[in-house]
Symmetry: C2
Subunit: 142 residues, 2 copies
């Protein structure tokens, strides 16, 4: 099925950095109920600074933040320049108050729109011994 | 920043089930280069059967496949009925040949469009001891 889909942004990164603040828009806020039963949550966010035709046409990258990384397909990387500018980040939930989340480890930029939030469930999401190429061990985690 | 974003589907689930087959469209295929250096990959896919106004307006769910799950906010669940119908699934890469991937553990349906593929990197993605509520331990993993 070829085609396109539309996403509606549900919130925004108000403060980036190691401790980040995310505000969820009021009409989506009830969707956060009980989220604080989870210690970690997954963000899908929009690489809004890369949402251009050029960046979305990128098919191969050299992950420059990783020493020794070779040229590889964009789907073998976590590059923000990719056909669909969606970032994925596992974060620690520090605080949930009203419609605002404080989280640790979010690698989004200030102003990045939020596309989705999902609870992190180790049974499904944690593969401690997954095999990766050597270049992933240097530099930032993604 | 309120607004919307557009996603272009990059492939499709041709066969669902425990061992699934995913075909990536030719114009995105070079993006798969070196993906087989990773043992596990993350799929973002489109819940195409839930892409309706009603399903996208869901804000609270009771995860019925999980015994004893309470009503909770949609972002505290992995429900396919959610504001943006994007599913996330960590899978084992069994085989990559040309533009076709065989993977184990993909919970998408036959015909689900693929939105993105990302390499699974334990440094960033694996939190074995993340805390979850009791109801997540019964039924399927998500």
């Amino acid at each position: 099925m070829r085609g396109k889909g539309e996403v509606t942004f549900i919130g925004v990164v108000e403060d980036a950095g190691e401790l980040a603040r995310v505000r969820i828009f009021p009409e989506f806020c009830v969707g956060l109920q009980s989220l604080d039963r989870f210690s970690h949550i997954i963000f899908l966010y929009w690489f809004h600074l890369r949402d251009t035709k050029e960046e979305r046409n990128v098919r191969q990258v050299i992950p420059r933040r990783h020493l020794g990384a070779p040229r590889l397909g964009v789907f073998s990387s976590r590059s923000p320049s990719r056909p669909n500018p969606i970032g994925l980040c596992v974060t620690k939930l520090v605080k949930l108050q009203d419609c605002t989340l404080q989280v640790r480890g979010l690698d989004a930029s200030k102003g990045s729109p939020i596309v989705d939030i999902k609870p992190y469930i180790p049974r499904a999401d944690s593969i401690p011994d997954a095999r990766v190429p050597e270049w992933t061990s240097s530099g930032p985690s993604t």
